[in-house]
Every structure is written in structure tokens, then in C-alpha cells.
């Protein structure tokens, strides 16, 4: 609880929130502008707020979040453990009758809760703005998809929070841990897509003889890309917020049979489609957290 209060009252939190709002507001505002001119009662109007890429900004709200969520999570987590160490409070706290994992867990949950509060607030603001400016109430299924999106976003934030906490356990200096976390983030965002395609083209056989060859290659590319939590997040969000998405990989003719192009999938089918992504994100979060936990358990606390 103290951790949560710490986060909520800190200046850093204020800056992060402002940052997120500024980053999120532009795409939303301009997509709302665009949407007002479109009258199509059948489309998922509210979900379009999130995904539309307005021309003036060139980035949708979701894409902005994909970018900003890791930054925020890193901001919340990068000094969680080593700042205690540097303030020399760690050994004092750990000499009290609590388990070490309780400390780590408390920090993680507090970070996640803080993060969730900001995200929910942002989500409500966007929804409210949509309600005001569009003048159409969202349908139940749109709200359900929106909530699903929120859950995915929080899980995605959790992965990065766990990563930044792992670094804060590994490095004694807060600056090193922040740099490493940010470095990893940049790596996944800028380098990884290129690296993945480079690996694929290196592995690729000289000529592609069959559809299977091609499919296998595509699978490899997708698999590599999905190592990045950002890809998992954007795929999951794509499935949730764009109901007409039928597959996240290449579409085979077999899958097209009997499908009405552009018709939306029901919510449960979309959920099924992105289920691997969601579990992937949550599993990633748990694995990284477990790693941080193991390192922290064995660490010598010398003040």
C-alpha cells in the first residue's frame, strides 16, 4: 500500500500521466474529427476511435499506446528495488519479518495498479469524448471489446514493468537499469522488425517451390516478430478492436471459404483468435517477474 501511495503522489507520476494524455489526445481528437463526417450505423464506430489513423497525426491511438505503455511501465519500475538499496532502506526493511518476495510482489502490484489507474482514466476520457462528440452511445459489444482492450493493455504494461523491475534488481545503479530497460525497448521497437526479416531472408531457401515453403517462411517471420511484446500487443488489439479481422497470419484460401469479406466476427471468436497473444503476454510477464524474483532471493543485502 505504501508503494501505491508513493507512486500516486510522486512527481514522476504526474509527468508520465501528462505525457500519456498529450500523446493519446492528438490521435483521438483528430480521429473524432474524421469520424464525425462518416455516417455508418453498422460499423463499430467507437472502436474506430482507437484504431483510426488520422492523416494529420499519422498515428492511431492504439499505435501511440503501443509506444507509450512500455515507456510508462519502465518509468514506474526501473528504480523500484535499487533505489531502496541506494537509500539504504532495503536492509532495514528486509530485517523485518516479511519475505523478500512480498516486497517484490508489493512493488510489482503497486506499479501495475498505478498503471491501471492511469490507463482506465485515459480510456474513460476517450470514451467520454467520443460520446460527447459523436453523440451516439456505444453498443454493448463495443464496450466489451473496449474492456478487453484495456485488459490486454494492462498485461502489456505488466510485461514491461516486470522487465524494468528485473533490471532494477540486477543493477545497483538506477541510471544503468533505466538505460538498459530503455535500450531493450528501443531494440524491440526499431531493430527487432528489421533483424527478424534479416534472419528470415538468411534462413530462406534459394527458391520457394511450394505454398508450404512459403507458409513455413511466413510462420518463422511471424514467430520471430512475436517474440517482441509490442507485436503481441498490437496483434491482440487488432483482433479486439477491428472485428473484421479473421486471421493474424497470412490468409489461406481455405480460410476464405464461406467467409463474407469485411463482415465482423462475433466477440467470442475474436477473443479466440487473439487468445494465444493474450496468454503470451501474461506468460511473458510471469516469466520475467519470476526471473527477477529468483535473482532477488539470492542477492546479498549489504548496506
Amino acid at each position: 500500500m505504501k508503494e501505491l501511495a508513493d507512486h500516486l503522489s510522486s512527481v514522476r507520476m504526474l509527468i508520465l500521466t501528462l505525457f500519456v494524455i498529450a500523446f493519446g489526445a492528438f490521435p483521438v481528437a483528430s480521429s473524432l474529427q474524421t469520424l464525425r463526417t462518416v455516417v455508418d450505423p453498422n460499423s463499430f464506430l467507437f472502436l474506430r476511435i482507437f484504431t483510426l489513423e488520422p492523416e494529420q497525426v499519422g498515428i492511431s491511438f492504439v499505435a501511440a499506446l503501443n509506444f507509450i505503455i512500455p515507456l510508462m511501465a519502465i518509468g514506474l519500475g526501473f528504480d523500484s528495488v535499487n533505489s531502496e538499496f541506494n537509500r539504504r532502506t532495503l536492509s532495514r526493511v528486509l530485517s523485518q519479518p516479511i519475505y523478500r518476495d512480498a516486497l517484490l510482489m508489493g512493488k510489482f502490484l503497486a506499479g501495475l495498479a498505478t498503471f491501471a489507474v492511469v490507463l482506465v482514466a485515459l480510456w474513460l476520457i476517450v470514451l467520454g469524448a467520443g460520446l460527447l462528440l459523436l453523440g451516439v452511445p456505444p453498443r454493448g459489444v463495443e464496450v466489451a471489446r473496449g474492456v478487453g482492450f484495456l485488459v490486454v493493455a494492462i498485461a502489456y504494461g505488466g510485461v514491461w514493468l516486470a522487465i524494468s523491475m528485473l533490471f532494477s534488481v540486477l543493477f545497483r545503479s538506477t541510471a544503468t537499469s533505466a538505460l538498459c530497460a530503455l535500450g531493450l525497448w528501443l531494440f524491440f521497437f526499431l531493430l527487432w522488425p528489421q533483424l527478424a526479416s534479416a534472419i528470415v531472408s538468411a534462413v530462406a531457401p534459394g527458391e520457394i517451390r511450394s505454398v508450404e515453403d512459403y507458409a513455413a517462411l511466413q510462420d518463422l517471420a511471424m514467430g520471430l516478430m512475436r517474440l517482441s511484446p509490442g507485436t503481441l500487443f498490437s496483434e491482440a488489439v487488432l483482433g479486439l478492436l477491428s472485428p473484421e479481422t479473421r486471421t493474424l497470419g497470412p490468409m489461406l484460401p481455405a480460410q476464405m471459404r464461406g467467409a463474407i469479406l469485411g463482415a465482423p466476427l462475433p466477440f467470442d471468436q475474436s477473443l479466440l483468435l487473439i487468445w494465444p497473444q493474450i496468454t503470451g503476454l501474461i506468460a511473458g510477464m510471469i516469466v520475467v517477474f519470476a526471473a527477477a524474483y529468483v535473482v532477488f532471493q539470492r542477492e546479498e543485502v549489504r548496506a
Binding site: 528486509l94 519479518p97 543485502v301 549489504r302
Partner: protein
């Protein structure tokens, strides 16, 4: 509590810690009794802090065993931590919180009920003379006040054992005096105190027993007087200053006197070592021999002297 040895609170047997190839703590044995103040002394890097960390389960042991109040710090860390108060070297508190809030946080970690915690906090702060700054932020505290706040935390916890790592380092003489007074207070409350230090004369005044660390081993252990006897040789030294007679010749005849040596550069000052307290006899002899006795003092063996002499000896042996 160990049933077999009710008055031993901490017992270490063959305790060892290895960092890479360096043996930081090398098979030490030591026992601390209930209600005593035990000093771990030695130069920096001799293994004092590592020993303390192993007793608290804050670092893993490489060999041997520790028993704190009948519990194993590695296997039952919570039981140990519930009963042991620890004041680390250069203790840290959350600067942006007040003293009260800091203690409240600890109280919550101890899962004390709220009302109980408030009364204990007030009492503890009273006992370390910090009651008037209870609601001030810790960032305004001096080093001495932080150390006292650390003691308050131990008092609040009602620990059975207090482990203090370099409690007086970096403190001015007055704060040191106050802090040592509080450590004596802990002892009066029946708490066993283990403290480490390299400041010998300060520690000498409070410790019942000490262990002298050298390169991961306990070189000497016992009361200050015992150590002095071991290192400086047995005997009861006194300082005599007198004029008008040949002191050396006069005093050698007294029963029990073992040696009479000139002390320091001052004229007429002699150091007399005897196997008992011979001050009365010395005074009598000097006066009856027609000398003018100007000073007669009991020389307490100083730990500083023991320490210096011991390490000189160790270096010569090496």
C-alpha cells in the same frame, strides 16, 4: 528459544563465508548470552558485517551454522527477523516521510495492530529523546538522529536481540555518548546487544565481552580484562608519580610487584605492574620512605592497546 541453552541467544559454529576464493569469514565459533553487550571488533574488511548478515539471513552461509534464539536464519528467516532488531551501518529511512510514518510502516511490516503500534511508537521515540521531532520529515534529521531513530525502531519492535552494525561511526562525541547510553538502556531492558565497531575506546566502555576479528577469524574473545591479560600479560598496572626518592628501588620490594618501568617521557612517572591491587602498599611505602607522592592511578587496560599490540604481534609473526 533453545531449550538446551536458555541463556545463549546467538550461537555460531564453524560459520564460514566464501566470496570466490576469498574467505571473508573463516569458521568462527561464538556465543552471545542473554542480556549482555557483545562487541565484534576489528579492522574494516575483517568479516564483521558479513558475520552479522549471516546471522540475519540476509546472505547465505557457505558453511557452518548459526542459531539465533533457537532458529536457523536461513530456514526460518521470519522467526529470526521477528525477534531480532537490526540497525545497519548508515541506516536509511524514507526521507520524504516523517519519523512517525517511517515507524508506522515498519509496524505494519511487523503486522502490529494499529493502536498498539501508535503507543509503541510514542514510547520508543520517547526513549531515544526524539519525541519532539516525531512529525518532522526524516530528510531534516542529522546522522545521529537517524541512528537514534534506528534504535527506536528496535525498541518499538521489542526485539530480544539487537544487532548494531557500526552504530557510532560518523557520529560526534556527544552523539556517540548518547547512543552508547541508549545501548546500555537496551541492555537494561534485557535485550542482548551485538555491536560491531572499529572504534575501540568507545566500545570498551559498553561491552561486556568482545571478539577481536582478524582476516575472517576470531583472534581473541572474552572480557576486555581477559584480553588484556592475554595480550599484554597478566597483572594489575598502576601509574605512580612521586618525587624525592628512587621509586624503582623503593617499590621493587613490595610483595606482588612484578615490574616497575618508567612511563612516558614525564620525569618521575612509573608504571608498576603487580598481580593484585597494590596501591595502598605503594602509597604507604613512598610516604614512609620520605618521598612526595603526587599521583597514584589505576591503569585500566585499554582495548586500543590490546588491539594495537595484538596486531603488531600478528604482523611480526607473519
Amino acid at each position: 528459544m533453545a531449550d538446551t541453552k536458555p541463556d545463549t541467544v546467538i550461537e555460531a559454529r564453524g560459520l564460514t563465508k566464501v566470496y570466490g576464493s576469498h574467505r571473508a569469514v573463516d569458521a568462527i565459533d561464538l556465543g552471545i548470552r542473554r542480556g549482555e553487550i557483545f562487541g565484534l571488533l576489528g579492522p574494516n574488511g575483517a568479516g564483521k558485517t558479513t558475520t552479522i548478515l549471516m546471522m540475519l539471513g540476509l546472505t547465505e552461509t557457505s558453511g557452518g551454522s548459526v542459531d539465533v534464539l533457537g532458529f536457523d536464519p536461513v530456514r526460518q528467516p521470519l522467526e529470526v527477523k521477528r525477534r531480532v532488531g537490526y540497525l545497519p551501518d548508515a541506516v536509511g529511512f524514507y526521507d520524504h516521510l516523517t519519523a512517525r510514518e517511517n515507524l508506522r510502516y515498519t509496524a505494519r511490516l511487523l503486522s502490529l495492530p494499529r493502536r498498539e503500534a501508535e503507543t509503541r511508537i510514542a514510547e520508543a521515540m520517547e526513549s531515544v529523546n526524539l519525541a519532539e521531532v516525531l512529525d518532522k520529515r526524516v530528510s531534516t534529521f542529522s546522522r545521529g538522529m537517524r541512528q537514534r531513530l534506528g534504535i527506536a525502531e528496535i525498541v518499538m519492535k521489542r526485539a530480544e536481540v539487537a544487532i548494531l552494525d557500526e552504530p557510532t561511526s560518523g557520529l560526534d562525541p556527544h552523539s556517540t555518548f548518547e547512543l552508547l547510553e541508549m545501548i546500555r538502556g537496551l541492555k537494561r531492558a534485557g535485550v542482548a546487544v551485538l555491536l560491531s565497531s572499529h572504534l575501540l575506546d568507545r566500545v570498551q566502555s559498553v561491552c561486556d565481552r568482545v571478539a577481536l576479528f582478524n582476516e575472517g577469524r576470531i583472534a581473541l574473545m572474552g572480557t576486555v580484562v581477559e584480553l588484556a591479560n592475554q595480550v599484554l600479560g597478566a597483572g594489575h598496572p598502576i601509574l605512580v608519580e612521586a618525587a624525592g626518592i628512587d621509586i624503582a628501588a623503593t617499590l621493587r620490594g613490595i610483595e606482588g610487584v612484578q615490574s616497575v618501568m618508567p612511563e612516558g617521557e614525564g620525569e618521575g612517572a612509573w608504571r608498576v605492574v603487580a598481580d593484585r591491587d597494590v596501591r595502598a602498599a605503594v602509597a604507604h611505602r613512598i610516604v614512609t620512605s620520605g618521598g612526595a607522592l603526587t599521583r597514584l592511578a589505576d591503569l585500566q587496560p585499554s582495548l586500543e592497546e590490546v588491539y594495537t599490540r595484538y596486531f603488531e604481534g600478528a604482523r611480526r609473526a607473519a
